[in-house]
């Protein structure tokens, strides 16, 4: 099947994030990751797909610098990760917005922490609030927004700091199905517009195939990469046509077969 290529370019200059032999054992003895090695190409959206509890969040947090690996290392643009950094931004599954702050302040919060002047950071935040489709909602508070809109604020906040790498942990799992589809389409536009590297955790095979340039299939805990799939689906047709495209359906089917062995 020519639509699926398994090789990932290993050209060093094209790699944004590189995870090298990372093992993570939680205090208490749970081994979440075992000797994991994976590379994320620059400017692409790579999905991490795997059974529940296989360590996707753990991997993402290690890349984010929020967790320390037990052994192994992570490099971003060739530099070792020792903690959170300016070149990475996180989008949280439960949004992690500040309920006491307006949409505008939430979206500008990363810049606020960097000490960017108020008028400047508000201008930048407004641009990204617009980009995620929330123009006109700047002065509302998170509790006045729907789940989908809240996650857009989370995405705007991550985009506003202009990080090269965006880490997204099941960003759409807390929103309803219609919103989710609209969101996936918008995400594709954002990926096209912003020359950024996206690492995207999801439970949904369809979602992964729809939004990703490459998909890393993870084995159950302690996790390693079992396979990397590049779903080269057509992007020039309408979203609904894509979801009916035989190539798209084939890849979904193939991934499902690969994962089913672990579910059963």
């Amino acid at each position: 099947m020519s639509a699926v290529a398994e090789a990932v370019s290993t050209d060093k200059t094209d790699i944004a994030v590189s995870v090298n032999d990372v093992t993570k054992i939680y205090p208490g003895g749970v081994e979440a990751l075992n000797d994991m090695t994976i590379q994320f190409p620059k400017g692409e959206l790579t999905s991490l797909l795997g059974p529940s509890g296989c360590g996707k969040t753990t991997l993402l947090k290690i890349i984010a610098g929020l967790l320390e690996p037990t052994s192994g290392s992570v490099t971003v643009n060739g530099k070792n990760v020792t903690g959170p950094g300016k070149e990475r931004a996180f989008v949280f599954q439960d949004f992690a917005l500040m309920p006491w702050a307006s949409v505008l302040r939430n979206a500008a919060f990363g810049l606020e922490l960097q000490g960017v002047a108020k008028s400047e950071r508000h201008a930048i935040a407004e641009k990204y609030i617009d980009a995620v489709g929330l123009k006109g909602y700047e002065n509302l508070y998170p509790h006045e927004l729907s789940g989908g809109m809240r996650q857009r604020v989370g995405l705007a906040r991550a985009l506003a700091v202009n990080a090269e790498v965006l880490l997204m942990d099941e960003p759409f799992s807390a929103v309803d199905e219609q919103t989710r589809r609209k969101f996936q389409e918008d995400l594709l536009t954002v990926v096209d517009d912003e020359q950024k590297t996206f690492i995207f955790v999801t439970h949904s095979i369809e979602e992964a195939v729809y939004v990703s340039q490459s998909i890393a299939l993870l084995l159950p805990r302690p996790s390693r990469v079992s396979e990397i799939i590049r779903p080269d689906i057509r992007r020039d047709i309408s979203p609904d046509a894509i979801r009916r495209d035989p190539v798209y359906l084939d890849i979904v089917e193939r991934i499902w077969k690969g994962l089913r062995t672990y579910v059963e």
């Binding site: 947090k61 984010a64 610098g65 929020l66 959170p84 950094g85 300016k86 990475r88 931004a89 996180f90 949280f92 599954q93 439960d94 949004f95 992690a96 500040m98 309920p99 006491w100 919060f109 990363g110 606020e112 922490l113 960097q114 998170p142 509790h143 700091v161």
Partner: protein, 251 residues
């Protein structure tokens, strides 16, 4: 309140008790229990006097300064305990001990150290109020959604930013509850402090009235104090409820 299946409003039950008090008072069973109406009359007689006013002023001053200090110490300490395991281990046993300790017994010690003046009263107030404020701020910080803490870290907030821009606000509902409970304890502290020091403020008045068996004056003074304690607790309760919405929207 319900009586014989009929709903009785709060005010009515208070009036009922006042009437019972009046009747018992008029029976002249004890010098300790003068008729209610006499007390009310005495109340209007005492309150406008300069002695009362200066006592009230000292009390208010000690209460405000004491509560203020307790808040300024209590919140940072609680937030720090909530965020740092080491600091928490160091402080928690002491905080818990002081929270349940009979602090009144410490007031004589304070008196020997700080004399028979407002300083001792203010310190007593702080000592009464601060522990619950610490514990509530700590609980508030411990309740912060983990992802909010991760968000703060991932955008590289320094300690001061994390503290002032996120942790204190995220813990605000608990912190406000702590301040309300702390203020109620402050009232106790400021009164007990004055009673034991007994040469300034209401303490002096109580001393004066009780040594002269002026029971009507005693009760009038107590009513005033109860009323203010109630007012403070209710006022802070209203403030607290204003922020309730976001405790619910926190996760």
């Amino acid at each position: 309140m319900k009586l014989f299946g009929i709903k009785i409003p709060m005010m009515a039950s208070l009036i009922m008790w006042a009437i019972i008090w009046e009747v018992v008072g008029r029976l002249e069973l004890s010098i300790l229990l003068p008729p209610f109406s006499n007390i009310v009359m005495r109340l209007f007689e005492i309150v406008p006097t300069a002695t009362f006013f200066s006592a009230f002023w000292i009390t208010a001053k000690c209460f405000i300064i004491g509560t203020g200090i307790a808040i300024l110490i209590g919140i940072p300490m609680g937030v720090l305990m909530g965020r740092s395991i080491v600091f928490d281990r160091m402080m928690l046993p002491w905080v818990n001990m002081f929270l349940s300790a009979p602090l009144t017994a410490l007031v004589p010690v304070l008196m020997t150290l700080f004399g028979f003046g407002t300083k001792t009263i203010i310190l007593t107030t702080v000592l009464f109020a601060v522990w619950i404020i610490v514990l509530d701020a700590r609980a508030g910080v411990k309740n912060i959604t983990p992802s909010l803490v991760e968000m703060t870290k991932s955008f590289q907030a320094n300690f001061w930013q994390a503290f002032t821009k996120v942790y204190v606000w995220a813990a605000l509902p608990e912190i406000l509850a702590g301040i309300r409970l702390g203020a109620i304890r402050s009232v106790k502290g400021v009164i007990i402090g004055q009673l034991l020091v007994s040469v300034v403020g209401f303490g002096r008045l109580f001393e004066l009235y009780s040594s002269n068996f002026l029971m009507e004056h005693m009760w009038a003074l107590l009513f005033v104090l109860f009323f203010f304690a109630f007012l403070i607790a209710e006022g802070l309760g209203v403030l607290e409820r204003k922020f309730e919405y976001y405790a619910a929207s926190r996760n």
